[in-house]
């Protein structure tokens, strides 16, 4: 939905609008998504190309973390990406950070969830 090269940020609002439609976001949630995405891409701004870019790493952990913090500040539960939940405000600071980190890892590494092995003739996967 966004691309950042040097200090130039490009946001794809067709893609953003598609998410707003898919998740039936209300006006408040839609505005929060705009802000969160801007915060995400802003994290990348100014960092410039690096050797990590060739390895497919573009500081995404930091960017998703900042996006989560934007949602926290806006008191917006992030339904599409699950980066912030208003109920997390009941946790202490250390646990909030651990929970946020876990949420970011789930976005970055969904493939760590084991895929089920197709079952044959009633033998279900363990």
């Amino acid at each position: 939905m966004g691309k950042t090269v040097g200090n130039s940020i490009t946001l794809n609002y067709d893609a953003v609008d598609s998410v707003k439609g898919d998740y039936h976001l209300n006006a408040s949630e839609a505005s929060a998504l705009d802000a969160g995405l801007t915060g995400h891409e802003g994290t990348h701004a100014g960092s410039g190309p690096s050797v990590f870019g060739f390895l497919g790493m573009h500081g995404e952990k930091a960017a998703y973390t900042n996006e989560s913090i934007v949602y926290q500040g806006l008191h917006n539960t992030d339904r599409p990406t699950l980066l912030w939940n208003e109920s997390w405000a009941t946790l202490d600071e250390q646990t909030i950070n651990q929970t946020r980190d876990q949420a970011v890892q789930h976005v970055l590494h969904p493939d760590k969830v084991e895929a089920p092995i197709p079952h044959v003739q009633g033998n279900f996967p363990e």
Binding site: M1, G2, A15, V19, D22, Y23, S28, E29, L37, H40, E41, E60, A63, Y64, E67, H75, N76, T77, D78, R79, P80, T81, L82, N85, E86, S87, W88, A89, T90, L91, D92, E93, T95, Q98, T99, Q102, A103, Q105, H106, V107, P110, D111, K112, V113, E114, A115, P116, P118, H119, F124, P125, E126
Partner: protein, 166 residues
């Protein structure tokens, strides 16, 4: 007469037993907020709850609305075969459970309805982690990070949508 009394007693016992079994096995339909705010009330009971699930450890959370709850618990799903003591029921494996794992593996935003036994250990209120109920004192899951668990008996009504990529 004595035989008739015995027969009536037997019938009465069977009816009462059936009633108890029915009550115990019928899941209580709750929200995640219900579980967070009244964990003692639902401890050890079979509940049915709708929530998001994520990650390899099947973390549960409710992202369905903007209203925050007055309490919170980090919950996750556990499979009966991984649970001690054994829960006395098995997971109903089938298409829904396989679909859940597949959608998670593909990195999708997954919401489903879960039926299982609710085991709370801690609850968060006002930034404090408070002990509730009985069970493992350290919490559940990897590094005991979870305040409670739902021992999964059945999963249904899966809604999976793509997570928007940045």
């Amino acid at each position: 007469m004595k035989n008739l009394a015995s027969l009536l007693s037997l019938v009465l016992y069977a009816v009462l037993s059936y009633g108890q079994m029915d009550t115990r096995d019928t899941p209580l339909k709750v929200t995640m907020c219900d579980l967070y705010e009244h964990p003692e009330q639902y401890a050890g009971k079979i509940v049915e709850v709708r929530a998001n699930v994520s990650g390899n450890d099947l973390a549960l959370d409710d992202f369905s609305n903007q209203k925050s709850c007055s309490a919170y618990m980090k919950l996750h799903l556990e499979l009966p075969k991984e649970t001690t003591p054994a829960p006395g029921f098995d997971l109903v494996r089938g298409d829904a459970y396989n679909e859940l794992r597949e959608k998670l593996h593909r990195g999708m935003n997954v919401i489903a309805t879960y039926e299982g036994r609710f085991d709370p250990v801690f609850v968060w209120r006002d930034q404090k982690r408070l002990k509730v109920g009985e069970g493992d004192d350290k919490g559940y899951g990897k590094n005991h990070r979870y305040d409670g668990r739902i021992v999964l008996r059945k999963v249904s009504d899966i809604l999976a949508r793509a997570v928007p990529r940045r």
